[in-house]
């Protein structure tokens, strides 16, 4: 049983309300930070903890905070990115819905560290009911003196505002989020300048994921050093994984990054194995944007080691044989799932969500979807597979924001690892309409440390 820091109290009845949350030890970190620590000490503590951004990129949160420009007389802002729209990821929703006070508490501490007197939660428009939950929590915190003017008599002022998005995936990208927060069209900005220098209303801004902010609370409570002891290497602390797909027990799990992928999928404590006794075919371990892996590469790295559930191990082998931790949206595919159809679904999503600002992503995502549709519905040609590969190569790295990469990676990984299945679709278009390619050799143990097919 791994240690739980975030969801430990999630199942206490009434934890959503201030009284119960406070009785269970809530808001201790606010008292500790505001009364006994300076803002720089809080930042230092977060740095020591080695906490990495939980939104997907995994950038060290303490580093991000220390990059924040602090010119005199210019307000600074903290923005909480609750625009969780990645297919397969629903951990922030769980956190905000069940223990909203944890997020509010983390926001107060982080605002104190960064000197933000106005803090925003940018929440995706589809989470309409969570807005009410958060606003209630904020109101309760304010009544009890944890928000507003002169918090706990320390002279620190802070207000938290909840802003709803209007249903665009792209607004989860931090500069697009800032544009949208300012009331503009949610187009990503061209970096530099980075938000740490010019963010909301051209003021220095830090944008952090919900889970990152929530993790600040245990860091302050147990100190950064203690937090850093949990986990391995540079993957410290606990991570929320939202598991879904063909598993027996889908849901949000808190892991301490020391367990293996195999254990996570098959143990009864977590996913409980593949549903209906089928076999594992493939898995996307970090939300739809990260590369898909076949079962053999998922459970063992190319070096033959067990693959663990942490940042380093999942990305072991680069994109050739590895994948990424991403935002923790763990999507499991059993042997009856069709990778081509699955890739088409993702391509359709990215085509729909591309903002249309820069040309490779705007035009390329639509093209990829059309080709994949042809292949899936038996109208594909053999040359289409190479064409797809070429298009994704032309998109990747050439766009303004990471959405272009996010659209290119799933297609690239699917072709890299499941080329046989694509070719089967092209070769036997009629059979492909009636049955699946099946598991084929995707779970066979791989010869250790050989280069996989390109």
């Amino acid at each position: 049983m791994g240690r739980k820091l975030l969801l430990e109290k999630a199942h206490v009845p009434g934890i959503r309300n201030y009284d119960v949350y406070r009785r269970e030890g809530g808001y201790r970190s606010v008292e500790k930070a505001l009364k006994t620590m300076s803002p720089d000490q809080v930042t230092e503590e977060v740095k020591k903890s080695g906490l990495r951004g939980r939104g997907g990129a995994g950038f060290p949160a303490g580093m991000k905070w220390s990059f924040l420009a602090k010119p005199e007389g210019v307000p600074r802002y903290l923005v909480c990115n609750a625009d969780e729209s990645e297919p397969g990821t629903f951990k922030d929703r769980y956190l905000m819905e069940f223990i909203p006070h944890l997020l509010v508490e983390g926001l107060i501490v982080a605002s104190y560290a960064l000197g933000s007197n106005k803090t925003f939660i940018y929440i995706r428009g589809e989470y309409a009911w969570i807005v009410d939950i958060l606003e209630q929590a904020i109101a309760e915190a304010k009544t009890n003196g944890f928000l507003g003017k002169n918090i706990l008599g320390t002279g620190f002022d802070c207000e938290i505002y909840v802003q709803r998005g209007a249903g665009a995936y792209i607004c989860g990208e931090e500069t697009a989020l800032i544009e949208s927060l300012e009331g503009k069209r949610g187009n990503p900005r061209i970096k530099p300048p980075f938000p740490a220098v010019k963010g909301v209303w051209d003021c220095p801004t830090v944008v952090n994921n919900v889970e990152t902010i929530a993790a600040v609370v245990p860091i302050i409570n147990i100190t950064g050093e203690e937090y850093a002891k949990i986990g391995v290497g540079k993957s410290t602390g606990t991570k929320l994984i939202s598991a879904c797909g063909n598993i027996n027990k889908p849901g949000v799990y808190e892991i301490d990054m020391t367990i293996s992928v195999e254990e996570f999928i098959y143990s009864d404590e977590y996913c409980g194995g593949i549903a209906h006794g089928k076999r594992l075919k493939a898995c996307i371990p970090g939300g739809s944007s990260v590369p898909i892996l076949p079962a053999n590469l998922l459970l063992k790295t190319a070096k033959g080691e067990n693959r663990m559930m942490n940042y380093e191990s999942l990305s072991d082998g680069g994109f050739a044989t590895g994948t990424m931790m991403g935002s923790g949206g763990f999507i499991v595919l059993d042997e009856d799932q069709c990778v081509v159809r699955h890739t088409l679904t993702l391509a359709r999503f990215y085509r729909h969500e591309s903002c249309g600002q820069c040309s490779p992503c705007r035009e390329g995502t639509g093209w990829m979807e059309k080709i994949l549709k042809n292949i899936e519905y038996g109208k594909g040609k053999k040359s289409d597979i190479d064409l797809l590969w070429d298009i994704q190569r032309k998109i990747e790295g050439n766009t303004i924001c990471p959405l272009g990469d996010a659209a290119a990676w799933p297609v690239a990984a699917a072709i890299r690892h499941f080329r046989d299945e694509f070719e089967w679709h092209v070769q036997y278009p009629n059979a492909a309409q009636n049955r699946n390619y099946g598991l084929a050799h995707y779970a066979d143990p791989l010869p250790i440390a050989t280069a996989p097919k390109a």
């Binding site: 061209i190 903002c355 249309g356 040309s359 995502t365 093209w367 050439n398």
Partner: protein
């Protein structure tokens, strides 16, 4: 006097220039000029905030600066990346850049209608130039192209959204020249479009400039549409005293008739001055203007066809071959017609020659 500013040394395709801090890579490359300047479809030096969107100006930075000589991992948009001291940039010398640019051009063209034969922009279209210079000869796109309904933008401007490449230049123009922008980008992704949402006329004294900033034929001049091809016209610089704008324009003549008025453009296709709608759409008589002389057009442009400047005629070899005798018909038959009337110089006739030009008693073109 302030201290002399320190200049940044930047090397682009092995040519070093010194530029002021804060210059973008693209502008530094334009100082060198020629092929080293990356193409730019969305960047417009006179529009604040433009650039970074079309991705045709991508370059490789092989050394960030003297202080930090690490290369940048990704290709960067040269129009929005500022130079650092000691930066080394590769544009045409980098295969990666050429490959990426070819890809961008292909992607820009997959949904472009390629209706150049009926497009008014043909001949002065940046996308046309770009695809000739960097594109492939064919396309691998096999699907129906995206089309849009035409939007009516009032009496002067025609929006043909199907041709648009979403460079956002016209949006920035309206933002920065007019006090209230009424058009913008609607929807997202590949169905994003320039529109006014509810059909509305663009009504502002300076809104006509969106026609000049548009790199393609998406925004065209309704007073000029389908009247003539640009390469049949002769541009002349002219000016007038205009209370609203600088009044410095280019008149596009065919014969004695002014077919259209545009702002004066520099070698990168950017306007020197914004001009007002009155100058652009209302003043179409020579008598409205004071002529300053012919406009300089790059000899690479199709507009300069038939009126080349400083061209060298090919060496005449026939007399040599024929032992010193001159042939009856000369090679430059297309230049000076000896068949009908030797004193007619075809290149001086406005527009293509007709049989009437050679009829006896026609003095029109003999002067």
């Amino acid at each position: 006097m302030a201290e002399e500013k320190k200049l940044f040394k930047v090397t682009i395709d092995n040519i070093t220039v010194e530029v002021e801090p804060g210059t973008s890579i693209l502008n530094a490359a334009r100082m060198i000029g020629g092929e080293i300047a990356p193409p730019a479809m969305c960047y417009y030096s006179k529009l604040k905030g433009s650039g970074g969107k079309c991705r045709t100006c991508l370059v490789e930075v092989s050394a960030g600066s003297t202080a930090d000589p690490r290369p940048m991992p990704k290709l960067v948009a040269s129009c929005r990346t500022n130079v650092m001291d000691g930066m080394v940039v590769k544009n045409i010398t980098s295969e990666r850049v050429q490959d990426a640019r070819k890809g961008v051009v292909e992607l820009l063209l997959i949904n472009h209608p390629l209706d150049c034969p009926i497009c008014d922009q043909a001949g002065e279209c940046h996308l046309q130039d770009l695809s000739y210079e960097h594109g492939a000869e064919g396309t691998r796109y096999e699907f129906p192209r995206r089309t849009f309904e035409k939007h009516d933008l009032g009496p002067y401007i025609q929006l043909h959204m199907t041709r648009c490449i979403l460079c956002y230049r016209c949006v920035f123009t309206a933002d920065q020249l007019t006090n209230k922008r009424v058009h913008g980008v609607l929807d997202r992704g590949d169905h994003a479009e320039i529109a006014t949402y509810i059909e509305k006329a663009l009504d502002n004294d300076f809104i006509g400039n969106v026609i000049d900033v548009c790199p393609v034929g998406a925004l065209t001049d309704k007073t000029f549409r389908f009247k003539n091809r640009v390469w049949f016209l002769k541009p002349e610089d002219a000016h007038r005293d205009c209370p609203k704008c600088s009044g410095k324009v280019t008149l596009w003549y065919r014969g004695d008739e002014v077919f259209r008025v545009t702002g004066r453009k520099d070698q990168w296709g950017e306007l020197h001055d914004w001009i007002c709608n009155e100058c652009r759409f209302e003043k179409k008589k020579t008598s409205d203007w004071v002529i300053d002389g012919p406009t300089k057009i790059s000899h690479h442009s199709v507009i300069s066809a038939n009126h080349y400047v400083d061209t060298v005629k090919p060496h005449e070899t026939l007399p040599e071959v024929m032992g010193g005798r001159n042939p009856r018909l000369l090679m430059d038959i297309h230049d000076v017609s000896e068949v009908n009337k030797p004193n007619i110089d075809l290149s001086k006739i406005p527009g293509p020659a007709h049989s009437t030009d050679f009829k006896k008693g026609n003095t029109k073109s003999e002067g």
